[in-house]
Amino acid sequence: MAPPPAPGPRCLLAAPPRPPLHLKPLLLSLVDDHLLPPSPSSSPPSSPPSLSFPLDHPRRDHLLVTVVSAFASALSAPVSRDHEAPHLAALVDALLAAANRPNHAPDRAARALACDALRALDAALPGLLAEALGHLYALAAAERSPAAQSYLLLLASAARHAVRLGRLASGASILAVLTPAAAMEMMAILAEVASAVLQWAPAIAAHIKVQFGGMVHSSSPMLLHSLLTLFVQFPDAFGAEDERTMAHRLALAAREVHRPLAVRLLALHWLLGSVRFRNLVPGLARWFYPAVFDPLALKAKKLDCLASVAAGVDGEKVAAADRASDQATGLLDDGLVCVSAFRWLLAWSTETGVAFRALHSVLVGAAPHSTDGTRCSGAGELLNSTFFHHLQAILVDMASEHQGLVPVIADFTNRLLACNSHRWAGERLLRTLDECLLPRLEPGYQLASYYPIFEKIAQNETVPQHRLIELLTKQMVSLTKKHGPDTELKSWSQGSKVVGICRVMLKHHHSSHIFLPLSHLLVLTIESFPDLEVRDHARICLRMLSCVPGKKLRHIMGVGEQPSGVTPSHSGSLYDIPSPRAAQDLKSMPDLASYIHLERVVPLIVKQSWALTLPNFSVQNRPSGSILSIQDVSSAPSEQENPTGPTIERIGYRQETLRVMDSKGAATLQILRRYFTCVPDYLHSSGFKIRIQCTFRFDSEPFNDAWGLDLPVSGSDGADELPALYAVTITFSSSAHFGKIPSCHIPFILGEPPGSGMDIVPIDNQNREESSYCASVMIELEPQEPSPGLIDVSVEANTENCQVLSGSLKPITVGIEDMFLKASVPPDTPREGVAMYYQDLFHALWEACDSSTNTGRETFPLSGGKGSAAINGTRSVKLLEVTPKVLIGAVERYLASFVVSVSGGSLVTILRGNGVIKNVMWEENVPDASVDADALVPYSPDNNLQLQLVDDDEIGVGAERYGHESKRDMGIMRVMIFLPPGYHLLFLMEVGRASTLVRIRTDHWPCLAYVDEYLEALIS
């Protein structure tokens, strides 16, 4: 490849115009700096004024630099220099002319600069000087002044571009005349040229080694680095021996104290940075031992190298595995000596940072991250290696001996845990800490230093918690014991932290695993810990532990708590401020009642849709307002009666008393007196309570739709996707006289999974699910009047995203049957005498409710002795036209517990045989038709009930009319029902083949209105 003929340089300096230029270097620098950014479309500078500079002008150099920079940055390749950029051509020619005086002594600096300028132009516009290559070669060969460097560089650079453009040129020269910086540039260029021609001239590799190999001993880092790049680019040029020398050289370069620190660090990086040298690192271990006076940065990097060696040694798994492991652990121990002060310095000392960085580096060196980011290689081997055991032992010892390091160890663990590839190591480490460190610790105030580690253990699902809980329990006991007047603050602080760890456990563990010991710890705290606040917290924790299930609990614990190591910006869902939506108008929300349900467990027999309400029925006997004022019914004004409505005077409670003289009456009175002393006086104390069992549940899908919940918890488990309600409060109110109804609380409930309601579910399964999807609610009434009614239900609850839900649900219907209670039995009644007692009581009440008797004038003191009751009876009859089978079935199903006696052979036989009714008086013979045929009131909705009641005569006529129509020969059942607060309902059922006549007596006439319907419903 002969160089093309050199073009004769044209001299443009012949007739220079002399513009007056007094430019200052600052101006030039300004121009230099503001050449950026050159707009691609701008035209190049119009003229090269520098060329007209006198050679001795002081700013000529600077101006030349500026102008060339301007050209170089403004033009873009490819440029045909003759046509498109005449000024460029002029500039190039001028520069070539300037350079074309080799060995001309005085202007050698100017010539060098001209070369540099040409090179810069050539770099910007590759190929610009391709034609002049031969000429450049001649110049470079001829030049002997120090400017030869610039000529050589120019030649090489031009040659490089010729190579890049496919036109080859030779370019090897003598390095000896170059400065290190220039040599670096030269080598870079030559390397590229040489590698391009390598396939035609393999000998060039050997030549490279000869030319550059000597630089291995240079103290210039630039030369060293350049040589390294040659090692990579020409792998064949250098043998294994050269590589060893080079690696050794680099290891030693880091030990040369005269070098700047950065260079020493770089030398180690170079050693680790290339596979070729990295393999040689293990052999250099002794050179990586940090010295006392090495800067900590260098110690850190040397420890990296030692770690690399140790990891390599351990990874090799040679035959002498033990020895290898010993070596590895030995290296680690030796290395740590140089920063051994970290054991007693404060946790934030730099030594500590370096030491733990080394530990990490060892670990990661042995098990590097895999490229696909899933699982790191070597995990299994490492876990079982002596080396890893040693590492763990170091950490355990450090933790137990140097409490100040505990937070650092916790951070160290955290770093591993946060890494996908090394989570296993962190977890193993935590388990080891749990197994080895915890038994060494004693409860006491100093235990507080270990809380950071405890917290990590508590956070981790893979670590069993029993040791920790046990230790914390001991700690709580110890704190309680040590508590005194001067340790109040400590008790509070430490106790809070322990409970805090318990919270963390709740958050991260299946509650079933930790339930027993943790609840024990919490109970202990609640019972005996001296600080009130800690007790409170423990109480809250315990309540959550016992009420809120599994993952929901863990989710709720996360709300408002910042997990360590996560910056707030990442934790969006955890920082939900209760949105204004909670306070938003609830009217716009869909009706709660459409997806939240409170329902009776036992449906009413009577599908009753009405209720007779007698306003202020008994108001006159009470202190005014004492009850009404409690019944704040403002929430349901629609159902509220006008308080000023008509008052119906109570018929009972006559003040005057009359004595009854006849003996039968006396016996009756006796029984009644005894009985009434057992009836609570609801005016003066609490009366009987009625309990209605209900279930509470809500549907997930409409709930989510309504509240726009997008649950942050994800997982395959179905429960995670279901919404939940927290702290549900159900309050009841009623316009009926049910007294104050206590509200109900449900701590936690999950929404019903969509579609599950209709599924056929095994029964035992249903029971299990009841706890999470369905809560049972007991409504407690204390009626002051036995009447049906509606209970208005309103609910308040928290949703998962901290919104407050409130509204009313469908009301609960209370039927008359809810009021049915068994009459009370005096406590001194023997067990076997109960049946007899009931029978006697039945007869006595039956008598008393006969309007013809005088007992109505009698008053009976109630329990407590303050109030008393009077009986004012009413009678009625009802004919049930059903077969005995239906009737008996209905009675056995709904009224069995209220039956007091059965008489009549066939009836006794049937009922006894069925075995449902027990403990009653069985009479084989029907008493001769002593039953009065006087109270037969056929009920008809068309009739006015009150009128019928008033008109005694008509009743009698009616009874007469029905009395003989059918044979009621099977027998008689007597049923006695207590109606709170102090009334009774008596049925005497004459069961016949075709129909049954029910004679009714009661001391609370309004109930007859419902009884009729009830009886109808009973047999329908």
Binding site: L36, A253, A297, D334, H369
Partner: protein
């Protein structure tokens, strides 16, 4: 595109007050940078396409200053950068977890409109209170590789993984070059541009032609003064005293000559690619030119020797050694002694002659490592001998560096004991032997012992040394055993100094708040756990130590250890007349070709570096010695 060379896109010099004192951009390099990025994006591989040309523009000065200040705030100083701590987060240099990120930093520029971009690799050097930032040209690939390192979410890379920091640095010689640029720029800023020291034992120096030309090239008679005895051997951070000084200096930095620097840059790297970083040469050429200088007739004159010498010929060698020592006086801890030495040379020879210098006694001196000036062609070392052939540059230069153990007994040995009698009073005892085993011509010029107490204020001391004089400063006690002028030669002396020292009661130390807030932010001490320790029967020393250490701040990674937590005595001395390594030059064996009559002179000097007597009764830092594998 950048290949194996080094091109610099820009240089900034920032003041401690986050303003730009100097900046220089190189349009030619910048063009290559843009071309490289555009080529990358043209290939369709650029995942950065959406962000447009943002990374292609160099930021304005004020933006760089702001970015640098911001980085300082984010990364902190001591622990904040270089090591990943619990306050590091993704995207910070400290996330990469390598100490070199204290020197090769990234700057984040947040543009107001749209997203910001990153400058990397910015080579950072702190000199004389200024921060020198040099941004070399790199290809997009390594840039992206580093970006990935900043973003990786795992626990930190290891050397075995692909794309680790080491391999990135390995493939970027431009960073090494930028370091050299930053270094010399730093030298110019601090005025630390004197040539290496060459000691002339006799005769006045004769200024040659060169001297008249340049004037700025150091000559032997004007060798820089020997470091003041009290100060640390270098102006480095390696001693607490020095660190304190540099801190106090921080308030007002010395202004530097920007014209000088600008001139140098035009000469050394006119188009951003460094060609000669030798300050003396570059400036002489720029200032004086070559009017009458003859050229060699048959050889190429090296670029690093722009001028030829003319005048009386001679060649001067000097061995300068620095000894670092950690003396423990304990059975379980071996003493540590190490010598780092250099041979400096000044060859006043006409023409371009070759000089050959045989080195002998390498093996005997256990010379561990040596590196040579780039003009040197060293032969392969044989058993005990290595020959250096070199064409010497003009002026003083370091011919070679070496590391060696101390091959004779340490010049100062003995022990130092300090025991705290109470919280504010301590009793100490020195028992030293000086120059034992050193025969003439070894001369100890001076010797002084300093007991620094950087964290206590000395109230008074009591006690008389067996020899020498004692003085006291606010934070130290100084004991001059051998004063300069009355050198110790040909004999050894024993020196003892028992005494007591009283300190002023400790007041609550005003902590450098900005520093502390960064370094200790991660660990809030639990006050509960600390209180019992004093009662646990720990010794008084431990107790005091613990108390004192509480408000200690973390040292920089450039420090070898936390000096302030130890009690020690620092020995400063200078010895002439021999080397401690035993590696010497025989001036008679120096050959010059073509042969001329030039006398060779040789002198030797050893001074102390970190020469520490650790308190035998206290804690002391150690390092393990390599075990044979």
């Amino acid at each position: 595109m950048s290949g194996g060379g080094c091109s610099v896109r820009a240089i900034w010099i920032l003041t401690p007050n986050d303003t730009v004192a100097f900046s220089r951009r190189f349009a030619v390099v910048e063009k290559r940078w843009r071309a490289a990025w555009e080529a990358e994006e043209g290939d369709g591989e650029g995942d950065r396409r959406g962000t447009g040309a943002a990374p292609l523009l160099l930021p304005a000065d004020h933006e760089v200053a702001a970015a640098f200040a911001e980085r300082w705030r984010r990364e902190g100083t001591a622990r904040g950068s270089g090591i990943r701590t619990n306050v590091s987060s993704v995207g910070l240099d400290s996330w990469v977890d390598d100490p070199i990120t204290r020197h090769i930093i990234s700057l984040r520029l947040d543009k107001e409109e749209g997203d910001g971009f990153m400058l990397w690799p910015v080579v950072l050097q702190k000199r004389g209170g200024y921060y020198v930032l040099v941004l070399p040209l790199v290809d997009p690939q390594p840039f992206r590789a580093y970006e990935n390192l900043l973003k990786r979410s795992d626990c930190g890379s290891s050397a075995k993984e692909n794309g680790n920091l080491s391999s990135i640095l390995f493939n970027l010689p431009c960073i090494t070059g930028a370091f050299m640029v930053a270094h010399v720029v730093g030298d110019i800023i601090t005025g630390d541009i004197a040539e290496p020291e060459v000691i002339v034992s006799s005769g006045p120096s004769v200024g040659g032609l060169l001297d008249s030309l340049t004037g700025s090239i150091g000559i032997s008679a004007r060798a820089k003064p020997i470091a003041a005895p009290v100060a640390a051997p270098t102006a480095s951070l390696s001693s607490p005293v020095g660190a304190a000084q540099s801190d106090s200096l921080k308030g007002g930095v010395r202004p530097f000559d920007k014209d000088l620097l600008r001139n140098f840059i035009i000469g050394a790297m006119p188009f951003g690619t460094p060609q000669d970083l030798n300050y003396a040469n570059v400036t002489s050429i720029r200032t004086t030119g070559f009017s009458g200088d003859p050229l060699p007739t048959d050889q190429k004159q090296p670029a690093w020797k722009p001028y030829l010498y003319k005048g009386r010929q001679r060649i001067i060698f000097t061995s300068l050694e620095t000894i670092n020592a950690a003396l423990y006086d304990r059975d379980d801890v071996p003493d540590f002694l190490s010598v780092s030495g250099q041979v400096t040379c000044r060859a006043e020879l006409e023409g371009l002659p070759d000089v050959s210098l045989p080195l002998t006694g390498l093996k005997t001196a256990h010379v561990e490592v040596s590196s040579f000036h780039h003009c040197v062609q060293a032969s392969e070392p044989t058993a005990n001998k290595q020959t250096l052939v070199f064409q010497p540059p003009l002026g003083n230069f370091v011919l070679m560096h070496y590391q060696a153990p101390c091959n004779i007994a340490p010049p100062v040995k003995g022990f130092y004991q300090l025991s705290m009698v109470s919280e504010n009073e301590g009793a100490f005892l020195f028992k030293l032997t000086l120059m034992e085993g050193y025969k003439s011509p070894f001369i100890m010029d001076f010797c002084m012992i300093t007991m620094p107490f950087p964290r206590r204020r000395v109230a008074s001391y009591d006690g008389n040394p067996s020899i020498g004089t004692v003085s006291m400063t606010e934070h130290s006690i100084e004991w001059r055993i051998v004063s300069s002028g009355r050198g110790l030669s040909g004999r050894s002396i024993e020196a003892t100094f028992p005494g007591t020292v009283k300190f002023l009661p400790r007041t609550v130390q005003r902590i450098n708040s900005s520093f502390r807030s960064v370094s200790s932010i991660g660990y809030t001490e639990d006050s509960d756990s600390e209180q019992d320790n004093a009662k646990n029967g720990a010794s008084l020393d431990d107790y005091i130590m613990e108390k004192i250490n509480k408000d200690l701040h973390a040292v920089d990674l450039e420090e070898p250890l936390s000096w302030q937590v130890y009690n020690y005595a620092k020995v400063s001395f200078k010895i002439t007349g021999g080397t401690l390594s035993g590696l010497t030059i025989d001036p008679k064996s120096v050959n010059v070709y073509p042969s001329v009559k030039a006398p060779a002179e040789y002198s030797m000097q050893t001074s102390s570096g970190d020469y520490i007597l650790w308190n035998t009764l206290g804690k002391c830092p150690t390092a393990a010695l390599p075990r044979e594998l």
